[in-house]
């Protein structure tokens, strides 16, 4: 058997073209008025387009007494077009039998691919896609990977998950070299060694992989093994403060987290790690007061309402995402002029326990103060609509945990003191708790009893 392996197959490109900070500087640093003009132009095309082709929008907007003739400006759009949520799509589908919930604007035969949402809270929703070079979701990553510093010739470890389409066409689009390696759960050591061996410049991390790396700390110099990475991305199950600090400070990995842009795409951190950038030529993002529905001010908390500006297959138009966020349109220090967003949680994250409103983030912060529970793997058990005690499952690392009864009592004391409610803590090994996740990307923080 003879093989020829030359791992160092390419030198990353150099020269002025690839040295620039922004992939598309003209749009990424566009003045606010240019962004707004672009958004208004697309909205005024989108509204009649969707009205003509989407039965869902015709029904929704007719019910609100709105037609495309009423929409002559961006202001008309945000004051007159009604919002909707996933339940509205589901209700339409259940009523009509249309698998696309009335959103599809083209014949099915014109679609390149159909992916679907994560389905964490129910059956996944279909995401119809039309594209030529690379699928829409990864294509939205292009400016972000450039911002991280990836350049043609760099090697990228292919992420294992495929339900949101395949990434190799996208990586090729940027001149990157995919390294195809099974990086699924249980392959942590293989992934770690591959990063070093191939000089991988970018990897998508997910929580089980980070926990596997954590176990490998005793065998490997992680900082050295991961030194080729220009950056790593993390999304899905949130990584807590303790693990984030470990990845960034101890392992020396520049970790970029990203999140959903209201199901219209993704929003990534930039190099300053100060908010998620919303590419406003692809999404019109609003933040609305959850009670009054009125727009909130810059950096004020509200629900993210998103409109697709670059999706002609099945656009979301004023979609209530359920994400509680703050948004600013102040330019970033880098010169990027697009909106930045900070995620506060899901609108359903607030629970009333013992008559007190409590956010998942508050519980997280308190648990992370306990060394054994610093990985932040926990679930709130919602055992009734009106809960008088907080019931919690917390994941502990067996190799770093001694007396379980003592830890449970200590955790309960910390939580009770911080939250002001009675707390029951059930400890489970981290791996057992993670095994209850419905997907590698989604670990529900609130579960039914």
């Amino acid at each position: 058997m003879t093989t020829h392996i030359s791992v160092d197959v390419a030198s990353p490109s150099s020269g002025r073209e690839v040295d620039r900070r922004f992939l598309e500087p003209e749009i990424e640093t566009a003045p606010r008025e240019v962004i707004q003009e672009l958004q208004e132009k697309r909205i005024l095309e989108l509204v009649p387009y969707a009205w003509e082709r989407s039965a869902f929008y015709r029904e929704l907007w007719s019910g609100a007494g709105v037609t495309p003739d009423d929409i002559r400006s961006l202001d008309d759009f945000i004051t007159k077009i009604p919002t909707f949520c996933k339940d509205d799509i589901k209700a339409y589908r259940d009523r009509t039998g249309d698998p696309f919930g009335g959103l599809l604007c083209v014949p099915v035969s014109e679609l390149t691919s159909i992916t679907s949402t994560s389905g964490t809270t129910g059956m996944p929703e279909l995401i119809p896609e039309i594209w030529t070079v690379a699928p829409p979701l990864p294509t939205h990553y292009a400016r972000n990977l450039w911002e991280i510093g990836l350049r043609p010739g760099d090697k990228v470890l292919m992420p294992p998950g495929s339900f949101r389409n395949y990434f190799d066409d996208f990586l090729h689009m940027l001149g990157l070299i995919p390294v195809y390696l099974d990086g699924w759960i249980g392959q942590g050591e293989q992934v770690l060694r591959a990063i070093e061996r191939y000089d991988i410049a970018f990897v998508q991390l997910f929580l089980p992989l980070v926990l596997e790396f954590e176990k490998l700390e005793v065998q490997y110099d992680m900082r050295s093994m991961l030194s080729s990475l220009k950056g790593a991305a993390f999304a899905g199950m949130p990584l807590g403060k303790t693990l984030t600090e470990k990845v960034r400070d101890e392992w020396g990995v520049n970790l970029y987290t990203y999140t959903s842009a209201g199901d219209t795409g993704t929003a990534w951190e930039g190099r300053e790690h100060d908010g998620y950038t919303l590419w406003e030529d692809t999404v019109l993002a609003e933040t609305l007061d959850t009670v009054t529905g009125a727009p909130v001010g810059d950096r004020e908390a509200g629900e993210l309402v998103a409109t697709d500006l670059d999706n002609w297959a099945a656009p979301y138009i004023r979609f209530r995402s359920g994400d509680m966020v703050r948004i600013t349109r102040e330019p970033a220090p880098s010169g990027n002029t697009h909106a930045r967003m900070w995620v506060l949680g899901r609108s359903g994250d607030e629970m009333i326990i013992g008559g007190k409103p409590i956010m998942v983030a508050e519980i997280w912060q308190l648990l992370e103060s306990l060394p054994e529970l610093g990985d932040g793997i926990f679930q709130v058990v919602r055992y009734s609509d009106a809960m008088d005690r907080l019931r919690l499952r917390a994941g502990y690392p067996p190799e770093r945990t001694g007396d379980l009864d003592e830890l449970a009592q200590r955790a309960a004391r910390v939580l009770e003191s911080g939250l002001g409610v009675a707390v029951d803590v059930e400890l489970r090994p981290i791996d057992d708790l993670l095994a209850t996740a419905s997907s590698v990307a989604k670990f529900s923080r609130v579960v039914k009893a």
């Binding site: 093989t3 020829h4 992939l23 698998p99 996944p124 279909l126 010739g153 495929s162 995919p178």
Partner: protein, 228 residues
Amino acid sequence: MTAAAVSLPRAPLFGIASCPVGPNTLEFEIGWDEFERDVDWAESLLRSTGLGPGDLVLITISQWEGPWTTPVVHALRRMGVTYLTAEVWSFDAKRTSMFLQRLPVKAIFGLAGDTISALESEDPPIADLLRDVEIVWARADALDRASGMTPNVLPFRHLGPALALGVPGRGVLVNAAEWSVDTDGGELFVTNVRERATRFDRVPTGVRGSVQTVADGAIVLDLQEGHE
């Protein structure tokens, strides 16, 4: 965002991959020319099954399988087929079920035993979901189990670095323009016959079977399934 990428230099390789060879791993590079030839071959093979514009094909793979599956995905796109994506793992079987319940899927590519197990006792059960699917390319651990559920259940196998695919009426095929296959002690070995970025010389595949014929540009295999 695709416009900005047009001016960027092309990656020198399609990618770097690996496959198991006994207890070890064989690493290899894939060049652009051979990738395009692999797409051409996949397209001719898939067209011969009757798939065409407007058909829906559900694909259940992991992205690391790209060296074997991306030629298939590109071929489907060239043919005007719309493809649907679901994970290969059991936790995501509900996505496979969702697609099969909501859309008239004509073929499935990459069906795994895990998916069958996860959906066997669900409502609707996997047997009902597969009833109207015309072609299922199944992995070794799913082949026998799916066979009673729908008529055309065909093998999809990684044959070392090569791809082996079943075609109705023709058997399990390997591209004879790229590969030669021989056996030793019942195990299949592959060698590249046309230049590729990596040279393969009698790579043991871990798959047992025999070579039936070599004709019409294809090597026809008789696989003894159940061996991964």
